[in-house]
C-alpha cells in the first residue's frame, strides 16, 4: 500500500515529526511504500540543515534525510509556508526539495492513504 504523510510541526517542540518518522519507518518495514512526505505549516522547519541537537538527542533533519535516501521518499517542503518562515534553498538539508502545495494534493490522489501529524 502507498502512504503519503503530512507533517505540520517542526522538530523538538512537538512530537509530530517524531511520530511521523517512526510511522514512516514502520510502514516501510512492513513492506509498504512511502512515496512522499509533505512538510507544511511549521513542519517546514524539519528541513533546516543548521539544526544541531545535543549529542545524546535524535536529529530529525538527518533521520528524514537518511530515510529519503534509503527508501526513495520524496521530502517536499511547501514553498509558501517555507518562504514565510525562512526555510529556503540556502539552508535546505539534503534529501528535501521545495515545491508547491499542489504536491500535497497530488500525494493525496496518488496514494492510498494520507496521514497527518501535527499539533
Amino acid at each position: 500500500m502507498k502512504f503519503a504523510l503530512l507533517v505540520n510541526e517542526g522538530p523538538f517542540t512537538h512530537q509530530a515529526s517524531d511520530s511521523a518518522y517512526l510511522f514512516a519507518k514502520a510502514a516501510i518495514e512492513k513492506g509498504h511504500e512511502v512515496p512522499r512526505v509533505f512538510f507544511y505549516y511549521d513542519g517546514v522547519n524539519n528541513a533546516n540543515k543548521l539544526s544541531e541537537p545535543q549529542a545524546d538527542d535524535r536529529n530529525l533533519v538527518k533521520l528524514w534525510g537518511a530515510l529519503a535516501k534509503d527508501h526513495e521518499v520524496d521530502l517536499v517542503v511547501c514553498v509558501a509556508a517555507g518562504m514565510r518562515r525562512g526555510i529556503k534553498d540556502d539552508i535546505l538539508a539534503e534529501g528535501f526539495r521545495i515545491s508547491g502545495l499542489g504536491q500535497l494534493i497530488e500525494a493525496g490522489l496518488g496514494t492510498d492513504r494520507l496521514v497527518m501529524f501535527g499539533d
Binding site: 505549516y41 526539495r97 502545495l101 494534493i105 497530488e106 494520507l114 497527518m116
Partner: protein, 139 residues
Amino acid sequence: MAFEFDTEGVKKTFTFLNRKAPYGTIYALEVLETVLITAAFEQHANIVFIDDGVYQIKKGQDTKAVNMKNFLPTYGIIEMEKDDADEDEDIDMVWRIIVEKESMEARGLTEDDFKVGVEVLSSAELAEVLDQSDVVIGG
C-alpha cells in the same frame, strides 16, 4: 527525486476540517491555501467548520489593530469556486461548505453571522459526510 504520481482520471473527495479559531494560529489561512489548490485539480471538497473553526467565517473581522492579514476575504473566493462548480456543467466537482450545528450553537452563532453561505448539519449528519471522505486535511 521529483516523484511522479499517476493521478490521471483519479477523483477523490477531500475534506478540509477547520477546528481552530482564526488569528490565534495561522491554521485557518494555510488550510485555505490548500483548499484553493484543490480546485485546480478539479476534486470534490468538503470545507467543514467545527469547534472553534466556526469562528473563522464570522462576519465583521477587522485585523488592522493586530497588524495581521484578514483571512475573511479568502472565504469569498472559496464560495465563488463552489458556485462556479455548481453552475458549470463541464466541471465535475462538488464542493460543500458545511458548519456543524452543535458547534455553532454552543458559540452563540447563527447562520446570519457567517460571511459565506453554509449548509448547517447536525453532528450525526456530519459524521456520515466525514466517513465518506477519501482524504482528510485539517488544522
